[in-house]
Symmetry: C2
Subunit: 350 residues, 2 copies
């Protein structure tokens, strides 16, 4: 399956290297561009991995948690001196694996570099549908999309007409959760961190309401304004103070899916959440989840979402920077809310 020895082309391979473990907010200087590397466009003898050309790289908040020393077995840290690791879309240049062949398009975990040798092939997905922009497989059709799908449908057990609140709602996951909830006939409110994002939520993504949390001195009061009858489902991307305010406003038997806690990722000491008594008062469920528990649902997810995209019933907003060298700034920008829509780095168009 590996290609013959005759065409072992060696090419230059720019990389974004992870410098050292990060404390506090990540900075561009926590990464650096390495331009003098090379790579053979061939999988090593005996490997069942893939040699891929990276096309699009995904900037996701969870990556911050892999930039600290692993504190437990379930979070794998990035390795100082090695490329940043994240999700991306890539094209197979050489395959040692019977499931993939040269020219196949794939999405999954890859490196922040022009070419990567991927050995964890089990968690790669082959891209079959190319009627949509390939970059969508870093977002709405990739890990964040499946995160939104599994978090909303599997963790939140939503019913028609429920009152749904989503924080960081204009992000890759949030915008899709909101649209799923609207399709189901729910009342949907999102929070975001700028007027531009609030406008996006209301006008383009068709949320019922949206607000800029940075302009709300009293989050509890803001939530009471938008949810006079309380919140049935909270899709939490931020944790911290927003979660605390939401707890005060949950309806009986409400459900909270904890998808992310971006407000806490850069703190040495996590903020305290004071209103957990309301779990008891209102019989509320909170559940943390990771998308990898739901990979088996990917085909079902695509069956749902692809027709909606084709018909324009689900829209999607991306923020794409061009060039691997802009990756560090794009990633760092996530934590100040710099991006509008899903943050993607274009490495190469093909």
């Amino acid at each position: 399956m590996a290609s013959g020895g005759g065409d072992e082309q060696e090419v230059s391979n720019k990389q974004v290297i992870f410098k050292d473990y990060v404390s506090g907010f990540p900075k561009e200087s926590d990464m650096y561009l390495k331009t003098n590397g090379t790579i053979k466009l061939k999988v090593p003898e005996g490997s069942n991995g893939l040699l891929v050309k990276n096309l699009y790289l995904s900037c996701d908040p969870y990556m911050r948690n892999r930039m600290k020393k692993s504190i437990n077995s379930s979070t794998v840290s990035m390795v100082p001196g090695s490329p940043i690791v994240g999700f991306g879309v890539a094209k197979v240049a050489d395959s040692g694996n019977p499931k993939f062949k040269k020219g196949d398009l794939v999405w999954g975990r890859t490196g922040w570099e022009e070419y990567s040798l991927i050995t964890d092939v089990e968690n790669l997905f082959k891209i079959e549908n190319t009627d949509v922009p390939l970059s969508y497989y870093t977002g709405i059709l990739g890990m964040p999309g499946l995160t939104a799908y599994s978090g909303f449908y599997e963790v939140c057990s939503p019913k028609k007409g429920e009152y749904v609140f989503i924080s960081a709602a204009s992000g890759a996951v949030g915008q899709l959760v909101g649209q799923f909830a609207k399709l189901l006939g729910c009342y949907v409110v999102g929070s975001a961190g700028s007027k531009e994002k609030v406008d996006l939520l209301k006008n383009k993504l068709k949320f019922d309401e949206a607000f800029n949390y940075k302009e709300e001195p009293d989050l509890d009061a803001a939530l009471k304004r938008y949810f006079p009858e309380g919140i049935g489902i909270y899709f939490d991307n931020v944790g911290g103070k927003m979660l605390d305010a939401v707890l005060l406003n949950m309806r009986p038997h409400g459900r909270i899916a904890v998808c992310g806690m971006i407000s806490q990722y850069n703190l040495d000491k996590q903020e305290g959440v004071h209103n957990l008594m309301h779990l008891l008062i209102k019989q509320v469920q909170i559940k943390g989840f990771v998308v990898s528990d739901y990979y088996h649902l990917f085909p079902k997810f695509l069956d749902l979402v692809l027709p909606h995209i084709a018909e324009g019933k689900i829209v999607y907003v991306e923020d794409i920077v061009e060039g691997l060298e802009l990756g560090p700034a794009a990633f760092v920008g996530l934590f100040s809310g710099h991006n509008v829509g899903k943050q993607v780095v274009l490495v190469s168009k093909e």
Copy 2:
């Protein structure tokens, strides 16, 4: 159905009156004994309620939450100037309801007084089995028993061999949860607040391990000692610092049932819980619940627990004080862990 007008006996009716809304720890002086009242042993004309003689009254931590002004519709406050309200075992003296007749034994919500007129008959349970002490229907066979059953089997979804931790484990609910878990083949550890209770857990209730949380300066370290492989299920009766330490020690896909948060009931401002990020890291679920959502399971619960009691496979520890006038001290004692086993007040033996 109501008895005829000829036998309208009027008797004296001692009562424990709720004085006024409580802040901080409840004190005996928040209640007072009223000895000059009388009551007719007959339901009023047209009422479908019951006139009952109270036999045993239950002291339960949740009652503290009803001693403050209602902050939301789902918690009903006690009424200053009226008797304390709680669960109890009673004998029907007169019935206006076709489901009950004079002489029936019942358990459910009643007043802290010798005789009560109960109008909320829907939530009363008729006692069919009297082979066990009647006081058991304030505990193992009543609301706390069904709480333990529904919280463990329905909320925690336990599997054989799981690692189970229970706080306030020698209380009415905790001791039964631990025994259910042992019967299922789980490893079970409980925490309590005195050496006597720890001995009880280990020797009489057959927990695998138990510890005195008051003697553990570092709860995280204590939990790591008893759960080197982490906690699969946490049955939470206390909230606060213990919950925070447990979060650090949960296993992947662990479940936490929030049954009570007694450590927080007397605080004006709730303690902050800092380790909710572990919900995400370990995909943990927390769910608050109330027993009233599970009343329909009562027959199934009795079918399970009665044979086990008869065979001595489940044991039960009570702390009974004799006399209505000792009720206030017994209730207040819950919050300093004064009771050993389920706290009950005997009003009358029949």
